[in-house]
């Protein structure tokens, strides 16, 4: 029984780290631009396909690292393109509903486009560790999973440093907290928007490579991560980065423990139950700002 508990917590932490990594870009974009982007998970899908192509001609570790770089770059650019062509024109004459509808449209377009271009056949990304596993008595897992956990944490660490230690990073946070005041500081908001989208989408692209290596790459792979990322974002507080990080881990562990000890059938609903509970007690999410500040 004890070993099952440890195993489930480990499973939850690992999957949670990926949830966090995807949610962090979503929440950043929401924080800065107030855009709920339902196509966010598709950035991961595109990142994973970028990796499929890089690994096709560059196998092994080089291919894998190259994939990460290529996915971040390609999806970052895709993020900027969608921001400029799809979301930017709506920002001034928008209602939130318009933006949500447009992002759902974008989600459908990207998913179907990728099926058209890449085909529906699921692909695998090569595991750089040759699918080696570790059995530690209390739990078993693959080296790849541990690596993904470490990699997500490091990526989030770098993002944290960037947002806290660089002038540009602080400007992104400032813009997300108070857009008008940011304008009065001489921050070029349009530049911040572009950068935020590039960064948020780029991270989702990297998460897509991890997700694709752990699972598989297929056109509809973005839907589930989008859903999870929204749960995480609402849980942690919309636009709150720390909330997204902790929210991801909380959701991951809650799902595995709830699935294991309460009901497997409701594993995917557990996130929503948690959201309802959290929102009853803290209407702005676990880490959300209180009204008025």
């Amino acid at each position: 029984m004890e070993s099952l508990f440890v195993q489930q917590v480990v499973n939850g932490i690992i999957i949670g780290s990926i949830y966090s990594l995807i949610a962090i870009g979503l929440t950043m974009i929401f924080g800065v631009m107030k855009i709920c982007n339902f196509a966010h998970g598709d950035y991961s899908m595109v990142g994973a396909y970028a990796a499929v192509f890089v690994m096709a001609w560059l196998p092994g570790w080089f291919g894998w690292i190259g994939s990460i770089v290529a996915a971040a770059a390609a999806v970052g650019i895709l993020g900027v393109i969608t921001e400029r062509l799809v979301f930017r024109p709506l920002l001034t004459r928008r209602t939130d509903i318009d933006i949500i509808m447009v992002s759902i449209g974008l989600f459908i377009v990207l998913e179907n486009l990728s099926q058209l271009v890449f085909g529906a056949t699921p692909r695998m990304l090569q595991d750089p560790f040759g699918s080696a596993t570790v059995n530690l008595g209390l739990f078993s897992t693959s080296i790849l999973r541990l690596f993904c956990l470490a990699f997500s944490c490091i990526a989030m660490g770098f993002l944290h440093l960037f947002l806290n230690r660089t002038q540009t990073g602080i400007a992104i946070r400032a813009t997300s907290q108070n857009r008008n005041a940011a304008l009065l500081m001489g921050i070029d908001i349009s530049h911040v928007y572009t950068l935020t989208f590039a960064l948020g989408a780029g991270i989702a692209g990297i998460a897509g490579v991890l997700y694709g290596t752990l699972f598989a790459v297929f056109p509809t792979m973005g839907a589930l991560p989008t859903l999870k990322a929204f749960v995480v974002t609402i849980l942690g507080g919309m636009g709150n980065l720390r909330g997204a990080v902790f929210g991801g881990f909380i959701l991951g562990v809650a799902e595995t423990l709830g699935g294991s000890y309460i009901s497997m059938q409701y594993k995917n609903s557990i996130g929503f139950v948690i959201i309802i509970l959290v929102l009853l007690i803290r209407p702005n999410g676990l880490f959300g700002r209180r009204e008025g500040t």
Partner: protein, 234 residues
Amino acid sequence: MLSIENIKVSYGKAMAIDGVSLKVEEGELVTLLGSNGAGKSTLLKTISGILKPHTGTIRFDDQDLHTMPPHQIVRLGIIQVPEGREVFPELSVLENLKMGAFTRKDSGVGKDLDFVFELFPRLKERRRQWAGTLSGGEAQMLAIARGILSAPKLFMLDEPSLGLAPVIRNDIFKVIRQIHQERGITILLVEQNAKLALGMSSRGYILENGKVGLEGKGADLINNEYVKKAYLGY
């Protein structure tokens, strides 16, 4: 220095500023008075470029402001401390100040930081704290300090004493006078507290329903019967 010619600004169909002309000369401290909804904040937002006038011109030295995006206007040295402080709640006090110096590349930032910490020792104590945890008075200090770090040539303050206790209000006014006199910064002050503001101003404007109702020297306005009745409460 700043000259506004007959601008009109509206929110949708509602006209907020209906033909205002106004001048601020270098080295002046000019007060803008007016009741709620008279268009004072709208005017400052328009100068900062957040709102755009549909007619009229705004010139600063020899630059047209009314076609410029806000971030470039800041780079000219036109700095606004907005109504309601508008500090970044989840940035530390120090990070807020750094954002004030966002456009600056000169070496004077460190010196200015020392200057504002001297001006507001409380901010120095709390420099690592989130700005959202500050009291109203401290947040106002931070907003002003953040503005000073932007190295203003024209410093616009929107109701800096709003909602503050009298003691703190006096401190704030002292600091405004100090930066005006010691640093020679030109100031455009929007205030409800007419007596304090006009008392230290070179000139004043009174906005009413989006138009300039009265203008004149500070001392003259204090003694104006209409001003006395409407704004000074005699």
